[in-house]
Structures are given as structure tokens and as C-alpha cells.
């Protein structure tokens, strides 16, 4: 008999590791990414690929330097054995939340910032305070004017060559709506919103059907809880209705246009930067919804990524001050009543 392994219980473990969960998230993102390429052409594919590659390479280079791998060369390969796909998720997500007509170096810059500054400098996987992809987008958004002009899906055709000057850009349906242009919600319009045809927006956010497919996959694989994105989306929509003086036509435009679906399904639900308890999560998603609808009304621009960034910073506080009662817990007042009887 060979040497027995001794460790603390339990001696059974679920087959679902961090790596497996991250691969699930990538799979869930794929439909929206593919639809982004269909709508915005192969240049969008280039942006997504650059974003993912530079995210992974940044993590690799950072780890090589941090581990002083030249002293123990086996680490050059060991990194890939322990690779957990979190940077692939970050890179893909970042590529999907920038417009398709930006210069090629923008996704590279954004990914390097997201991984090196936001994730690795704070301690790597699980230690980042804010969502790296969202922080990367906000970094690009406030640094480059190109981030504010959105191309129209289907204007390119799949094999269009990148030519920034020839692209028709416009305000997104959301900003148009927020600017006060009355939106007559028709059936054709809703299907355009759902499929993303003729819509302006970022690569991954225009096709809502693909995002919903990803949502279904994540729920079925139990990566996220079904109510988390729904809560965010519903609160945003309903609060927008309230702000418009109970005009229920405001619900669909504020839910189906802009980056709300992508943000609610893939960015706000990020494990590291969302609260850990159920009660904390309810507070977090309701607050996200309220602030999103309120700021949209106040500023007239799309604010989902900024709001997620803001709430990410509040998460440690929520975790600290939202208590979780143990099984069988009796409130002190009630306990006293019981004993006095």
C-alpha cells in the first residue's frame, strides 16, 4: 500500500472549481460577443481578441515579474497550470463594453489598466476592490473621446474594413430617450432593441436576446442567482417610471436600451465585488437600480458602469454591517419575554 493522504474533512469536494465557473461565464458571454461581431463586423472581433489577449498577457507578465520567475524557470509553465480564466473574463467583458469604432490600442490600454492596476496591484484574483472590466471601461471613457461615439450596428456588414471617418455614429437610443425625445414604443422597435439591428451601442450590449441567453445559462449552471439581475433591472425600470410621473411607457426604453442588461447580468453579479450575504445582495442590487435610474434622469447619459463602480466600493461596508442570524436565532427582546413567562 502506498503512502496515505491525511487532511481535514470533508474528503469529498464538488467538481466545480473557480476555473470551471470562469469558463462558464466565458461561455455565457459568447452569444453576445458573437452577435457583436455579426452586427459590427470583423473589426469588433479584432477588438475583442486584443482585449482578451492583452488581459491574459498582462497577468502573465505581472506574475512572472512578481515571482521573479527567471530564478526558478519552472514558473513560466506553472503559471498556466494554475491559470483560472479570470483574466479571460475581464478581457472579454472589457472588449464588449467599448464601441466598435475605437482605435485598436484602446482595448489594449484598457485591459492593461484593468489587470495590472485594478486587479494585480490589489493582490490578484479575489482581492480587487472594484470590477476590473468596469474600471477599465471608465478609465477609457474619461480619457478618450472615441468612447462616446457609438457606431450603428449593421452599417458595416461583416467584412467591412475599419475606416473611422466613414462610420455613422449617433447617440444611443437611451441617450436619445433621456434627452427628452419622445419614444413611441412600437412592436418593430422592441424587436430591434431585442436583436440589436440598426441600434447604436457597445459591441456586446446591443443584442439583448444574446445577453438573455447568457443569463439563462448562468442561472442553470448556478453561477448567479436568478433574482440578482432581475432585481437590478426591475428596480431601475420601475424607479424610472416613478421619476417620469408614473408614465409606464418609460419602463421598456430604460430597461431594453443602454448597458443595463449587460451590466446587471455580468458586471454587477461579479462575485468578488458584490456582497456575500443574501440580505446584503438585496440592498446592493436595489441601491444599484435606484442610483442608476436617478442618475440617468439627472445627467441624461448612460451611467451603469459608473454606478457599478460606485457600489463596488460600498460592498465591504455592506458586508460588515449586514448581520446574518444563525439558525434558530431568537431576538433578544423576544428571548426575554420567553424567559419571563
Amino acid at each position: 500500500m502506498k503512502q496515505l493522504v491525511v487532511s481535514a474533512p470533508p474528503h469529498l469536494k464538488t467538481p466545480r472549481t473557480t476555473k470551471r465557473i470562469m469558463i462558464d461565464v466565458v461561455i455565457a458571454l459568447l452569444p453576445a460577443a458573437i452577435m457583436g461581431v455579426v452586427l459590427f463586423g470583423l473589426y469588433a472581433l479584432l477588438i475583442l481578441a486584443l482585449s482578451v489577449l492583452s488581459a491574459v498577457l498582462t497577468e502573465y507578465v505581472y506574475e512572472i515579474v512578481a515571482h521573479k520567475a527567471w530564478k526558478s524557470p519552472s514558473y513560466f509553465l506553472d503559471f498556466w497550470k494554475g491559470f483560472d480564466f479570470t483574466s479571460v473574463v475581464t478581457g472579454l467583458l472589457l472588449g464588449m463594453i467599448i464601441p466598435a469604432n475605437v482605435p485598436w490600442y484602446l482595448p489594449v490600454l484598457g485591459a492593461v489598466f484593468a489587470i495590472a492596476v485594478v486587479k494585480m496591484l490589489f493582490g490578484g484574483t479575489g482581492k480587487n476592490v472594484v470590477n476590473p472590466a468596469v474600471a477599465g471601461r471608465v478609465f477609457l471613457f474619461i480619457s478618450f473621446a472615441a468612447m462616446t461615439a457609438y457606431p450603428v450596428g449593421k452599417d458595416f456588414g461583416l467584412f467591412a474594413v475599419y475606416a473611422p471617418d466613414n462610420i455613422v455614429t449617433g447617440a444611443t437610443p437611451l441617450t436619445e430617450y433621456l434627452a427628452g425625445n419622445t419614444v413611441q414604443v412600437t412592436k418593430g422597435m422592441i424587436s430591434n432593441w431585442l436583436f440589436g439591428f440598426g441600434m447604436t451601442g457597445c459591441i456586446g450590449e446591443t443584442c439583448k436576446i444574446a445577453l438573455l441567453l447568457g443569463y439563462l445559462y448562468l442561472v442553470i449552471r448556478k453561477v448567479i442567482k436568478f433574482w440578482q439581475p432581475l432585481l437590478y433591472i426591475a428596480v431601475t425600470g420601475l424607479f424610472a417610471v416613478c421619476l417620469e410621473g408614473f408614465d409606464f411607457t418609460a419602463f421598456l426604453p430604460s430597461v431594453l436600451t443602454g448597458g443595463l442588461l449587460l451590466g446587471a447580468i455580468f458586471m454587477a453579479t461579479d462575485y468578488v465585488t458584490s456582497p456575500k450575504s443574501n440580505l446584503g445582495n438585496i440592498i446592493y442590487f436595489v441601491a444599484l437600480g435606484l442610483i442608476t435610474a436617478g442618475l440617468r434622469k439627472a445627467t441624461g447619459i448612460e451611467v451603469v458602469s459608473f454606478v457599478i463602480l460606485l457600489m463596488n466600493i460600498v460592498v465591504p461596508l455592506i458586508d460588515k454591517f449586514v448581520p446574518r442570524r444563525p439558525f434558530g436565532y431568537v431576538r433578544e427582546k423576544k428571548a426575554k419575554e420567553v424567559t419571563s413567562k
Binding site: 491525511v6 474533512p9 469529498l12 494554475g82 479575489g126 439558525f327
Partner: protein, 421 residues
Amino acid sequence: MKAIKAKHLFHGVHVPDHKALASGKPIENAPEVDLFTVSLSQCLGKPSVPLVKAGDAVKQGQLIADAGGFIGAKIHSPASGTVKSVSDAIVIENDHTYETDYMPALSNPSPEEIKQRIADAGIVGMGGAGFPAFVKLNPQDPVDTLVINGAECEPYLTCDHRLMIERTKEIAEGIRLLSKALGVEKVFIGIEANKPDAIAAFEAFDFIQPVILKKQYPVGSEKHLIYACTGRKVAPGKLPASAGCIVQNVGTCYAVYEAVVLGKPLIERILTLSGGAVVEPKNYVVKIGTPFELLLKDNLTEDAEKIVCGGPMTGAALASLSRTVTKTTGGIVAMTKKETNVEQPTACIGCGKCADVCPMDLMPMNTAFYTAAGEYDLAAKLGGVMNCIECGACAYICPARRPLIQSIRKAKAEIRKGGKK
């Protein structure tokens, strides 16, 4: 009585049960033992005090060690023969005559007689924790319900399942004696839904209410079994009696039957031998003090990676086979590398799955975080570690393979050392 479904639900985790390996194997006698090594630590509590010395002749069932304190258990000789040595274990050489020295059988005993006999027979909780049974039978609070634990939610183990279908009448008699000793009318037996034959077997008795428990780990935990069967919650830090309930394992009920009706002290138990690295899974009747090596000698494959004493969710991994069977050994599980899934821990990603599955509604990730930082007060406050039952559900589900149970044990030990809570 007709079985009812448990309505009260709590958090838990679905663990593949692997019970099919051994659940079809009838109980059989373990191989003959030449040398018994009976440990003096047979239960939760103080070790027992030996009453024999080297060279003494003993009979099967003779008292060889007295309880070391109020929470302690008497120990009886598993066979007739000669005492070879006495240290922290009593070694007895078997003369293979099995000459018995049992207590007299009791017919129609009073509640006091039953309690006394349970103490005299050295019966401890057979589920695994090994709390002396008679201590539980003298509760501080008024008790109106007896809950029998037939859940057996630990994967691989089938000893309680086999016992329930092969010795149903004996267990029912034990339950009747226990309810008489406690003076309670209401008796529930909670059985997990994956044992329909056992549930059907207990429907034949009109004083027992079988409850079908949802297949979920850890439904066999005392507090959660009470909640599933009766809807009562035991407050944190309180004993089940505070909710008017007493929980006993089916194995304990069988031991009570043997002690009262046959006069036989607790010298043997049912043990499951299972796992992917076992050639032929078995359910054995083993005598206390039987060496593990004898049980596994010809029955272990080459690729055994881990050998676990008890169930794989809470049992201890063994470094060698030098241990012997005690009153609480419900199983030996030999696992292959593929089954145990030993991996290096990676960084916590804060997914919160450990909190989702925690049956005690605690925050294991907070305990781990603050224990690593040496902040044990915060581990107790924000992690709730002192209420943990160490079921292992959190560490099972953790995708980052964090060693959560180690953190919890460390925090508990440090907090107890500091005397703070």
C-alpha cells in the same frame, strides 16, 4: 403510522451519496479477531478508568473499565480471554470460546431501571459524536418528543440503513423502551428519502411516526433533524431539550434493545466498509477493539489514496491502519484519488456559496478571513464560528478549495483558549 414528508426546510448541500456500493450488502460477521485492542476513549468526554490488570482472565461482556466522569462510558470485554496489557488501551487475547457474562434480562422495566441499564451497558450515541446516551436521558428541560435519527446523510455509509431493514422490530422495541424511560408520547423517526425500504418498514408500528427527509446534507444533524420533523428550532448554544426534544440514533436504539431485553452490554456495532478503493464493500457486525488492519487486509486495492474513519464529510483521514474499532466507528471508507479530489487551495473569490449552503446560516468565508488575520473576535462576530457544527458543507462546495474547516477549528480553539465568546 403512515410516513409524512418533512415540510420544514433549511439550507444544505446536495452531495452524491455513493450508497449503492454497500446498501445491498446484508450484515455479516466480521473475521475472527485474535487480539482486541480496546481504547479507553470510547466516547465524547473523559477516558474510562481500567478495572482489570495484565494477566486477568475476562469473559465476554464483563466490565473492564468504569466511566471516567459524569460524561463518560463503561467499557465491557468484547470476548473471553486474557488481558495482555493495560495502558491507554486494554489489550485482550481472544480464547475463541466466547464464554459470556451478561447482565440479567429485564422484563417490563421501570423508566429508572431502563436509564440505569443504559448507563451500565456503556451505551453511547452511535451516530458518530459518541455522547453518552444516559446523559441525554436526564434532560434539564421538560421533554415531550423523541426524535430517532435514521437519516444517515453521510455519503458511503449504509450501516444504519442495513440495521433499519434487517432489525426493524428490535429497533422499534428499543424506541419503545426509550420513550418509556423519557415518558414521552410523540416519537418521530427521520429517514432520508433515498431509503424507501427503511421508511416502509417503520410504517408498521403505530407509535412511531416516520418522516421522509429531503435528500440533503446535513439532514442528520441533531438541530436540523428536530426542525425537519417537528418544526421547532433549537436556539444557538442550547441543547435539543430546550426545544422539548431528545434525539437518538437508530444504532443507539438497537443497543438499548440488546441491553434491556437481552442483558448484553455494548460490545459490538455495525460498521460499513466502503469506497472506491475497497474490493468488496461490506456491512459488518464488529466487536469493539477489532483492528482496522484485519478488516481491510485482503479487501483494499492498490490505489487507495485516503482511508477515512467515519463518513467522508466529517470523518478523520488515517495515516496508518493501526487504529481499532470503537463504539462510534460507523464506517471505514477507502477512497481513490479520483473520489477524494485533493487539490491545492486557490484564492477566495467571494462567491458566497459557503454561506448559501451553511445549515447554521453562518458566514464561513468571514471566519476564514478573520482567522487568517488573527482577529478571532471578528471571526466570532461576523463569521458566527461558535455556532458552527463542522458539518463540512461549506468546504465541500468551495470552488476555490479553501480549507474552511481548518480555519473554523483554529478559530474555535483560540476563542476557547481566550475564554471569550
